[in-house]
């Protein structure tokens, strides 16, 4: 059947039919609404403006009258007194009008804030004389909370004590603003107001409100505070807290036992305030309670307790703190414990972190040995000189004294070879004289003293001391002052051998009369040679293999970590060079204590073996604890079991119920996981390093490396976060 084209309706394309008449009506409606709104705004604005203008005019009108009242004195002239009476009549007539009364009240309240002294008192009396406080009483009967509140404020500002009885009924008003205004009113209006307030208030006293109340009490003239310890037994925890603060402020230290008892209060704020009081009043008797409370206290309270123990504690408290130092896992608290220990017993705990072992400073011992040797030699030389002097005859002594007065500076320095020999330690040999040397040149110097040009010697010394140059070849690590020269010159096959201990740099500037080369006794290579009266140096190169190993070790030192331990042991095995072995040992030592091994990391002695929720859970409130349990359900594993078992002992039924559920869930998860083929998850599989380190000779490690788990803490943490992420995202 064919449908004629005229009957086909394309409803989706056709525009919907709309009655234009409705559109016009809607437009008119919105227009009318807009105009009404604008007119309304205009009228209200004008009304407010008019009222403000009238108020301002009235204020200007009232102002001189009030001034007259405020500064009226009995000593005024008769004319002024008449004027004052007329004004009083005039103002009484004016305040019959409600608006005028309101304006006058407003003016007086404004001036009350700006004036002090006698003017203020006069102003308050004027307010009462004119009976304006009756309007405030009326306001107290209003059903609008803001009107009631303003009425209380007015009566408080104008210090209408008679209103006290009317205001106290608002102290437990359900409307917070009225309640707070009433609290301030009764505390400020009468001295006993604070007692009534603390006795009767049932609601929370906010921190800001406490400050305001304290401010009111502070500014009360001739105020004698009551014994606030009376309210430490209040059932309202906020009253107890406020009372504690007032006790602290007014230093009322006669409630020692009550304050100590409050250490065991369930409210943390009260505990904290009690600790502050104990510290301020130095209640030493509180120490046992502080220790008793400590284990179950929150993080902040623990810190506060430690602070208090630091203030009050004695040596007797050290064992308690030492025990805490061992058992406490939280970093902040542990630091505080250490701080407290050192506060009680100064320097009982010394820095330990990043402190090198004494072995590291063995070099210092060597230096000390050298210094001691030097001292012994000096003493011996001095002794010999003294003995020689004592052996001199009187005539010789005279000659010697005469010689002492002669200046020998013009002469070159002469050093007796024997003396030099005695003080020698390291032997340096000069030999390998060229075979073609003449016999005259190859001389034995045994019979000659060593001659040093003084100026050259001094110059060299000065330059060594003044300039911070670094020698290219360090012949000895020891300071120049501690070095001694010992030269033995002998003849062997036409060659002279000079043995020098601890070659001094200054010695190199001395004029050597023979050609020779100085050799280090411990090394075969030539280091220094004397040719044509000049000194030349020859470097001592490492062999290629040794050099490669050292380069590799330096790279490992810079970039490596504990995974390189295996390689380091291999290097030690492969090389015989002392330098290489020493360096490798240094790196092994460095990497060995650099980080914990994964095995150690998750051992029972380490934090990560325990649930990450532990600390957060113990600090959390009830709702948060429930949320944390939900999270444990989602992401928890066997580490949470210990925590969950602990929660089962909790008094909260909801927590126990949820914890039981989570525990069952985790246990079921754990059992499934243990059934999985673990063998496939070998560490080697994950942490296998697919690269080969470049070594000249591939070496095989034969010894036993201390750690076989070749992955770092960072890797382990990364894998942890990944597993956590996978759990969360299914």
């Amino acid at each position: 059947m064919i449908i004629p084209p005229s009957q086909i309706k394309i409803s989706l394309i056709t525009a919907p039919e709309f009655n234009l008449e409705y559109l016009w009506w809607l437009t008119i409606l919105f227009f009318v609404l807009a105009v009404t709104y604008l007119i309304g705004v205009f009228i209200i604005r004008n009304k407010i403006k008019l009222k403000n203008s009238r108020t301002k005019e009235k204020k200007i009108e009232f102002s001189p009258m009030i001034n007259e009242f405020l500064f009226y004195e009995d000593s005024n002239t008769k004319e002024e007194k008449m004027n004052y009476l007329n004004l009083k009549i005039q103002i009484r007539e004016l305040i019959k009008n409600t608006f005028d009364r309101d304006v006058l009240t407003e003016v007086l309240l404004d001036l009350r804030k700006d004036l002090s002294g006698n003017s203020q008192k006069v102003l308050i009396n004027l307010y009462k004389d004119l009976g304006l406080h009756h309007d405030a009483y009326e306001k107290l009967r209003s059903k609008k909370w803001q009107v009631v509140s303003s009425g209380i404020l007015e009566l408080t500002t104008m210090e209408v004590e008679d209103s006290y009885g009317l205001i106290i009924k608002f102290i437990n008003h359900r409307q917070r603003t009225i309640r707070k205004q009433a609290e301030i009113a009764i505390v400020s209006l009468k001295k006993e107001g604070v007692r009534y307030f603390l006795d009767n208030t049932k609601y929370k006293i906010a921190e800001w409100q406490q400050l305001k109340l304290l401010d009111v009490l502070r500014h009360k003239p001739n105020y004698t505070p009551p014994q606030f310890a009376l309210w430490l037994t209040s059932t309202n925890a906020h009253v107890v807290l406020f009372a504690l603060r007032l006790i602290k402020y007014y230093s009322q230290n006669d409630a020692e036992q009550s304050i100590i008892t409050l250490l065991m209060h369930k409210e943390r704020d009260i505990q904290a305030e009690a600790i502050e009081c104990i510290k301020d009043f130095h209640f030493v008797n509180a120490l046992p309670t502080l220790k008793l409370v400590y284990p179950k206290a929150s993080h902040d309270i623990k810190i506060a307790i430690l602070d208090a123990i630091g203030e009050l504690g004695t040596i007797a408290d050290v064992p308690f703190l030492e025990n805490l130092q061992r058992t406490e896992r939280n970093f902040n608290i542990k630091s505080k414990v250490i701080g407290t220990l050192n506060k009680i017993d100064p320097e009982s705990i010394l820095p330990t972190t990043n402190i090198s072992s004494p072995d590291f400073y063995d070099v210092e011992g060597e230096i000390l040995d050298h210094v001691n040797d030097q001292e012994i030699i000096d003493k011996e030389v001095l002794k010999e000189e003294t003995i020689l002097e004592s052996e001199l005859q009187p005539e010789e002594i005279k000659k010697k004294d005469a010689l002492d007065h002669i200046d020998f500076n013009f002469l070159p320095d002469l050093i007796d070879e024997d003396v030099v020999k005695q003080s020698n330690q390291v032997v340096i040999t000069v030999h390998d004289l060229e075979p073609d040397h003449d016999l005259e040149e190859v001389l034995s110097f045994n019979f000659l003293p060593l001659i040093i040009d003084e100026t050259t010697f001094q110059d060299k010394d000065q330059s060594t001391e003044q300039d911070d140059f670094e020698p290219i070849f360090v012949l000895n690590d020891l300071p120049v002052e501690e070095e001694h020269i010992d030269i033995t010159i002998g003849q062997q096959n036409g060659a002279s051998d000079i043995n020098i201990n601890n070659l001094d740099g200054s010695f190199l500037n001395k004029k050597a009369t023979n050609k020779g080369e100085i050799k280090n006794a411990s090394a075969e290579e030539t280091l220094i040679s004397f040719e044509n009266e000049r000194v030349s140096f020859s470097p001592n190169f490492m062999c290629q293999e040794e050099l490669d190993a050292m380069v590799l070790l330096e790279n490992i030192s810079e970039l490596g970590d504990c995974r390189e331990l295996l390689l380091l042991y291999q290097i030690i095995e492969a090389h015989s060079s002392d330098v290489v072995i020493d360096r490798a040992n240094e790196l092994i030592q460095k990497f060995s204590y650099e980080s914990l091994r994964p095995g150690e990391l998750f051992s029972e002695n380490y934090n990560l073996a325990e649930s990450v929720f532990t600390d957060v859970y113990h600090l959390a409130d009830h709702e948060t604890k429930l949320l944390l349990l939900d999270e444990m359900m989602n992401v928890g594993d066997h580490k949470e079991i210990h925590l969950l078992e602990g929660i089962l002992d909790s008094t909260s039924k909801s927590l126990v119920k949820k914890a039981t559920k989570v525990l069952e869930h985790i246990k079921s998860q754990t059992s499934v996981a243990t059934e999985a083929p673990i063998s496939t998850l070998k560490e080697d599989f994950f942490f296998k390093v697919d690269f080969e380190l470049e070594l000249n000779e591939p070496t095989e490690y034969k010894g036993t490396a201390p750690i076989n788990n070749g992955y770092t803490l960072f890797d382990q943490l990364c894998s942890m976060s990944n597993s956590l992420y996978n759990k969360i995202n299914g």
């Binding site: 204020k59 001189p64 001034n67 405020l70 500064f71 001036l111 804030k113 700006d114 006698n118 003017s119």
Partner: protein
């Protein structure tokens, strides 16, 4: 004829009250409600003492001191009225050359004594 006091305060009620008290104390008082008026007045006439609130529209008390001391090079005593807790402003005022200050709430009698002391110093 009494000594001339320039009273600069935007609070009409307080200014009126102080004006009354000072007049009663024998002073000739000129009141300016904002900084502009103060400046205009000072261009034409220099009073014997200036009493100014620190917080004023257009021209604060601090600026007024600076203007009097540095632009007009006048040594006319200046007493500043400031709110309690406005310590920094008071210190700045003293640095710029204010002679004295009183804090709100003000005792008119005390202010009168301070004015007398500054004028007859």
């Amino acid at each position: 004829m009494g000594k001339r006091v320039l009273l600069a305060d935007d609070d009409q009620l307080l200014a009126s009250l102080l004006n009354f008290r000072l007049k009663k104390g024998g002073y000739e008082v000129h009141h300016s409600a904002n900084g502009k008026e103060v400046k205009e007045y000072l261009k034409n006439e220099m009073p014997d003492i200036i009493v100014s609130d620190i917080m004023m529209p257009y021209f604060s008390g601090i600026e007024l001191i600076d203007y009097v001391r540095n632009d007009l090079k006048s040594k006319t005593p200046i007493i500043i009225i400031s709110s309690a807790g406005n310590e920094q402003n008071v210190l700045t005022a003293f640095e710029l050359g204010a002679n004295d200050f009183v804090t709100k709430p003000v005792s008119p009698t005390e202010l009168l004594v301070r004015i007398q002391r500054e004028i007859y110093k």
